[in-house]
Symmetry: D2
Subunit: 370 residues, 4 copies
């Protein structure tokens, strides 16, 4: 072994001789697959998140038109499984990922068409911008999909979809596919080719059992990691947002995120935590003219305009928002929303993952210069 | 110090001399307030719970008639605070306690009458057998009280009641008064003489904020020990019980406590646990002819018939059950219910206390000889 | 039903006629075991805890002398189970309880004497003021008892004691007997008449498995309500208290409860919470001259002087403290300690019960006038 | 919109015309960054984890020799920060990652050399195969590094290293760098160029405060996400492993993972959970001749031989194991170990991440044909 004090202090690190020895070392490193931290540290350990993903906006009209064209050209069936088209972040070329952890897709089902059953460790939800007529069958429980609803498919639940109507239907699919892929946690299994229960009830079994506010079936008491409630209906979501704003107007404190900004989180009634373990799902409402605080969070998120219009500002760049538009917000992007006449947005993010790992950070940047 | 081996093995423990020394010792113990375990162990540490409280049943007609008489004779006001009459278990003479941990009372409010505001560390709820017209105002939030509803007043929330109708109203009050008294945790504070908000809204603020199934206000995210939802409405409770039975009839598994026996637990949406920290509250429904398993639990409970009739069997003694009747079930009482044409019962117990302390035990005794 | 507005406003509540009707009512209440809140509210719901238990101090010399006398006169055996003498609070006559929830007793075992095995739902610990030579056998695991050690017997663990030495040994037993009795949670079962393992190892199995700091056996991973570690040795307790004071002297912040006051809590390594579910156990050390803040808590506690001397002040009354003295502190007693030349005290309380029920309150009263 | 029933059933999906329209569609998808699931599903959602990372083994002699050469050629200083050389999995070319979530590196410090202070959201630990003389200073607390010790640097704690001896020292660094990079959670900040406390105590402050088994400082009570104990000493680890095997030999059940296989998990004394939020750290000991069950887990892991030798079998391929050798085990690799004369191994994995997300799966494959 070589003691430092024995090293001649006259070593000339810039000498050609030294450089040659160094080159040898790096070559030998490479041969055994070793990488010196001192040559990569800055990239590996940035001062704050520097995502490859970029802020991005997709227009609903574009998404829908393309999905409809695929409805004409591509059948749904075993193997491909779904007529779902993933939104690829331009900063992540080659990967159909909205952010490094989140998959967002538009799924399109023709009239009288079925998507076969399967299950996977990835968790999923559907958010319905418009339309109805499709039932998603989750572990044998047919769940109606209607405008404004959030429908869950927690990990490892069998699910298929059937359109019983005479019109096509499209919706937003959200999954943790990129996260699960990045960390090698994917399991997948085929189910029946046809959904196992063709009934089309107004309320799913899960709603009948778990849909009473604060009511737990005694037979099913106990914490579960994922929500047993598979549908969060728009009528309730809308009422809750309306109530928050009304209560604030009546002088009740602590009901709003900030003035003019109501929001609800879809949660797991058995724990009070997020409905899914890997994704946070929320609905936000901004009153006319409201502009949210500028802030950053280390979570990445996707937003979809449900109703109304306005603008989104991401790292200083302003984009207009219209019906159905989808926005990807990478980690640590400075973000704010502004409503024109009123703006309802659905959003999902990977925040619960980082909350559980004590990694989540959030920073209000309002005070900074924009 | 005295070593055992020095004691003459010829000691005669029954000798008058020994008995005299023993009497001296016991007298000296008493002088300093000491009690030998060997003389009290059996009483202190029974093989299983041997409550002083006894199984007991109060007839609603008796309770209501007496409450109504007090409505004529006793005003409600500051100091006495409430026209509430506690049900005293015959096994606990002198104490107005239904069981060693649970207070059950009938409260009666005359037309246009108010009960002044106060708060206490004891948690409380009201269960409404019949009638309407009263609002309980909880921390400034007026909560309508109507037939079949469960209304909460978690510990240290200010609350008062006002009857805005032209008829008297009576209901069941449940509190953890005996538990809190036994362990010296009582704090009490007077509030305004009149309820601070005289409005009579159909839905309380707490319901507007927290009453959406699985919907959490983002501004109020986080676990709370007690439920933020102050009212559990009969319409939801009834629907949930109906659904459990229907689903079971449709072949869905795991929805019932046992065949013919549906039950919901009122829970805290921020945790999924019991709505109150010290009391479990549930609603049970037995279909016509259903007889529950005989079982014992170390929790004590109180039951009130909401609708229907049948019988209760406690430690082998059968009693008929009719509308409004109240039953006290001490710890480790063998207990079962039988429905005649159908039977809905509200119940509360101290089970959450013992669950948290790892003391709760339950035993199905079906297999035993009845 | 009687409507208030129909009551003649001219009713004279003080009239003999009214008083007679009221007396009738109260008699009828009594007949069915009902108690009006308005006549008992003040006693049932005090403004703050008003325990019947009183602050009390027992001298170790008295306790030990009496225990030793019982060693001569009373055998240990099946039925009586233990030569343990409970300290009865003068405010709770008839009950051998130090506080309404805590049992404190001196247990005395003659040389070569055994106490038979049993188990109970009540949790227990032993704290050893002085001496050694006894092994407590917990679920078959012999645990040495030595000066300064805390030994656990969580609920429903079989346990017996054997003295293998030629000298008697006495120690402090702490249990939740009064709490468990008050709420009817007692279960008890006899075990073998002799301890099942007569070995006298230096370290118990539980210490060998669980005694490494931060080391969890992979085969036994998972939260348990009670600690799996049955012995907390004085050598570690002493070192931790010494370190807290040294670190504070070195300028490290956050190591002391207050200046001159070190304290450790005996905890459950599988959760980080209290070692027992119903009792908090701690060791405190005050440096010479240190006087603690005056404070009240709704928990009740028992303290025993381990080494040193000083004074305790309870609700303004000052008592001197010497070796082995035991103090009962009821809920909401204003309490402070003052050390003469240094003072080590063991303490246990019912605080975890009330923490879990969201009932615990603590108030520093330093600023108040004493 | 196009209704399915209007589509001519005579469509020929294989016709050149259809193929052309499809090509158009795919081109248009690409233009807006959309990817059809049906063309990527199999890759995105495999039937079980199909990691790009491969099972791999690095020889300690190779690692050490290269690290020592870099000790001669490369100074440690601000910017590069550490003379740490990351082990790159051959299946993940270009990334210096042992698995998709875990970073493993050999760090080398010359005699009398310092590594400057910094902090980062990534959590880290050091495991010491051999040598001593270095202190890692964690948030101002100098922690000695010695053979067999595990030293923690939880996320966002400042840390630097100093070698006060006359010999170089090398050790294994483990971090969650790949996970944090994949999900954009990296924050980094420089600290002082020299470690802020040059003292070289035998025990760190964290050990003095938190190193007593089951002893919690009252001043610091409460759950923390990461362990406050910065050093887990070999003397304790070794004793715990020895005890598990001895106890099993004495007939105590439940102490071993499987016959001949002892293991401890380094845990957070404030919660009983893993010492770090993102990485599980354990020490395993196999007695001579012991062969572990074959199993797979969806967690990925890295193992380092501490003492002894044997073989590792990964997906059927057998490799010999010697002193200091490092093994990377991707998710779902069938894995088993066999000891020759006895084998001690340190291991770390990403299991806690997936446990928290309800994604972790484990499968014993013993019964399968190898």
């Amino acid at each position: 072994m070589t003691a430092l004090e024995n090293r001649p202090t006259t070593v000339d690190f810039d000498s050609p001789e030294h450089q040659a020895r160094l080159a040898d070392l790096y070559r030998d490193f490479e041969a055994v697959g070793m990488t010196p931290l001192w040559r990569t540290r800055e990239g590996l350990m940035p001062p704050h998140p520097q995502p490859k993903a970029v802020p991005h906006l997709w227009r609903w009209d574009d998404l829908y038109a393309l999905a409809a064209r695929s409805g004409d050209l591509v059948p749904v069936g075993r193997g491909g499984e779904r007529r779902a088209i993933g939104l690829g972040n331009p900063g992540l070329p080659g990967d159909p990922y909205a952010t490094p952890t989140l998959w967002a897709a538009i799924q399109y089902l023709n009239p009288r068409e079925d998507a076969p059953e399967h299950r996977h460790s990835q968790s999923a939800f559907r958010f319905v911008l418009e339309g109805e007529g499709v039932w998603t069958v989750v572990d044998g429980d047919p769940v109606a999909m209607r405008r404004g609803d959030l429908l869950l498919t927690p990990g490892w639940h069998f699910h298929g979809h059937q359109n019983v109507s005479d019109t096509p239907m499209a919706w937003l699919d959200g999954l943790d596919v990129p996260l699960v892929a990045a960390v090698d946690q994917g399991f997948f299994e085929f189910g029946p080719d046809e959904v196992r229960d063709k009934r089309t009830p107004d309320r799913s079994n899960s709603e009948r059992l778990w849909g009473g506010p604060g009511l737990t079936p005694v037979a099913a008491v106990g914490a579960r990691p994922q929500s047993p409630l598979m549908a969060y209906r728009w009528v309730h979501t809308d009422a809750a947002l309306t109530a928050q704003l009304e209560l604030a107007a009546e002088g009740v404190e602590g009901t709003l995120v900030e003035p003019g900004h109501a929001a609800i989180r879809f949660s797991n009634p058995t724990t009070g935590g997020d409905a899914l373990t890997t994704m946070r799902t929320e609905m936000h409402r901004l009153t006319a003219g409201t502009r949210t605080r500028r802030s950053r969070t280390s979570a990445s998120s996707v937003w979809q305009v449900f109703t109304g219009g306005g603008t989104v500002t991401m790292d200083g760049e302003v984009r207009t928002l219209g019906h159905g538009d989808v926005v990807a917000v990478p980690a640590w992007t400075e973000f704010s929303l502004q409503a024109e006449d009123g703006l309802d947005l659905f959003t999902f993010s990977d925040a619960p993952v980082f909350e559980k790992l004590s990694l989540l950070r959030t920073q209000v940047t309002e005070g900074d210069d924009a």
